[in-house]
Amino acid sequence: MNRALRRISIAVLVMFVLLLVNINYLQGFEPASLAAKPNNARAFEAQFQYQRGNIVTSDGVTIAESVPTNDVYKYQRKYPHGPEYAPVTGYDTLYSQTGIEYYENSVLNGSDSALTVRNFIDLLTGKQRKGANVTVTINSKAQDAAWNALQSDTSGKPGAVVALNPQTGAILAMASYPSYNPNVLATHDGKLLNQADQALLQQAGNPLLNRAINFTWPPGSTFKIVTSSGYLTQNPSSTPQTNVNSPTQLKLPQTTHILTNNNGEVCGNGSGQASLLTAFAQSCDTTFGSLGMTLGAPTLNNFAELFGMNSKTLKIPMPVSPSNYAVPNPPSQALTAFSAIGQYSDTVTPLQEAMFAAAIANSGKLMTPYLVKQVTASDLSTVETTNSPQLSQAVSPTVATDLGQMMLAVVQDSDGTANAYNTAAVGFTMAGKTGTAQNGVNNTGLNDAVFTCYAPYDNPQIAVGVIIQGGGYGATAAAPIAVQVIKAYLASVGK
């Protein structure tokens, strides 16, 4: 019987080995995938057991923090600046997140694989686990200026501002109006959360929408940057001083429509020819409509894409809605002319507006915009730092210099559309382009005000894109906001 008993012992051994292997697999390898199951109450509650990391601006202002609380969970999420930073932080509710709260969730809640070793050391040393802090690229002074300007200067019109560092692509400001207070969504009371959510969804103006990156408007005349880029690149001998066709009226082929300038004004001296610089500074639609027809829609499309338009993959890390340029189909010279001046089906995000100026400011080199500067573990060691790559070489440095001169003329020349913001008026040298996009059926709606610019001209530090829906002229509604953002930013960095 002992031989059989020995075999039974082996069977028992096999049974125990199976159990041991199985629990090793279950507890050693499966926890992450089991924690990710949607109905895992433990994992759900675990996110409130640890102190979630803070979100801070690059100059050290805390815009999201978790403070100890006495209700069902240990920590309460707080957004000290509420709506101002909502487009950046997003919200962290019981059930979902948006914005940085969503896209950096794993580092904020400490579950990211990059933090595993630190968590294990914390476990061994008995330290309370804590999520990592996320530093965003936002400059609080620029953000304050953008938010205050959107709130006070636009008489309640929706709009958004984005500021970029042209050399790096770092987003210095990102404000959207109207906005919402993420604190009301951070409640631990499911019923209150639901009410707040419903109220925000039904509120006029769609405050939950981040207009800076997720809404598009026609770029209007700011698109002339793209058209000019195409012209200057394809005609290497031309300069801003080259004379181009600039009629007072431009008859569009195959239609009865006649393209005129704003209020039927003449372009340049009225001779039908004007320098590219003058046409750009005065924003002559006839000039650029004509240039666009010469270049053709496919060329315009190429240059629009070099500036980042039509990209469905851009993430900052939040996905950015594509800014659109469409080649008219079937081909149409008239529609191409409209598309060359930022009408037809052209639409852009405020971020795209900032990218136009940023590319010119950085010698044609367009950097990929990004929002997360670095991730810092709770012991203050750096987990990761963002080095954003170049997105494209939109134009050659020569063309960028030419376009810089033209954008400078828009602001500095006496007949430039944004002359009101010349160096003498604002205290720094800005280069930019206004846009006033016609809107509505037969263009009867209020014009959207668009402005893209960078400053200082000789040493660009900041590029800004502003769109105010129904704001009117770009120069009067959008440009002052950009000026305030630039002024605040340059003051904060001491330039």
Binding site: I23, N24, A35, K37, A43
Partner: protein
Amino acid sequence: MSSITVPSPAVDPDHPWVPAARGRRRTELIMLIFAFALIAFAFANVGYSLTGKLPSSMAEYLGAFVLITLVGHLAVRRLAPWADPLLLPLAALLNGLGIVMTYRLAQQASLLSASLSPSATGIQVLYSAIGVGCFVAVLALIREPRVLQRYTYTLGAVGLALLALPALLPASISEVYGAKIQIRLGTFTVQPEEFAKLALAVSFAGYLVAKRDVLALAGRRVLGLDLPRARDLGPILVIWAASLLLLVFESDIGTSSVFMGLFVAMLYIATSRTSWLLLGFVMFVTGALAAAKLFGHVGERFNIWLHPFSGQNPSHNAYQLVQGLYGMASGGLLGKGLGGGQPYITPLVQSDLVFTAFGEELGLAGLMAILLIYGLIVQRGLRAAMSVKDPFSKLLAGGLSFMLALQVFVIVGGVTRLIPLTGITTPFLSQGGSSLVASWMLIALLVRISDSARRPPPRPIQEEGLTQVVTLT
């Protein structure tokens, strides 16, 4: 069986170095104290984790438990002085951990899905006292394991009656969570199957020892395997039928498989015929699969096992299994610490799924330790079986050890999704009395058999012969 005479090694003058056999009762005491220290540490851990101070009732619970097990130790000293020194401390350690977990869960009783009264810990200590009492009683009443052989058929009848009883009683007093496995007397419930398993193990051992020569006869040879003769199939068919009836009428697939496995393993130990193992396995699997097809509640178990996360399963039928898995996953390698997890989310965590509660709070490290404790008990039991000379005791010890291993395999494998989950108790750890008392009785039988296995042979009375009679098997 044959009897021959061989020189007795113990008194061989050429080998004077043979050490005198030792009882090792002091080892047992030291190991017991070690177990007490672990339990006290776990108890304190729960208190500090939940309330930040030592549990106020720790002294009385722990004191009572120490007293109870020391009585067990004294009984072993007196009644089974040569017994294996590890069996009692290992069982006491598991029992103590079970009490700690019951206490820990009772502290958050309001969060549990099934009620656990605040006095559950006290009741569990009381059950431990009854369990150790039965342990002592078994040792006192059965001084020689062989005497049990006399009651082969009586115990067989008692065992079957105990198994059948809940099925015959109205559901109002026998049904618990869809399975008819208990007898409810007021607030007090007994699960007769726990005792039936012991009675049947003894009965199987007696029957197989008597019939093993016949059962070992080879019948037809198929595919290199000696099949038993058709006329010898009677007993296995009876047990198979009984286990299937259990499955169908009491919805108790867990006990049914333990029951069948026990019989087949003992049949194999008795006859050394692999064909019996194969036959039993095939019969049970076919029977279970057929039952799964025919009866919804059995088929459901397989569905839950194979697809716990699909469709509505995680929130409905597979909720318990899935929550247990989530609990173990949240425990990870080192666990949340006793009192630090949320085992109360898992339904029935105090009984069927107590293993997952340990997994959540002690982690993989704790579960491996617990499994190794079970493994050690089984190993000590099998060792006693191998070294005891009497074939009945051999068979009984082998069967009981295997049954314990099988029970652990079925429930632990079930809650970790190695095999379909079936509700049986985790020996010593689950909250509840019947299983604990029966487990202590099982340990008592192993202690008794190990005592007779390790007892030194009686000194020969006549010096001139220098021989003694031994039985070779």
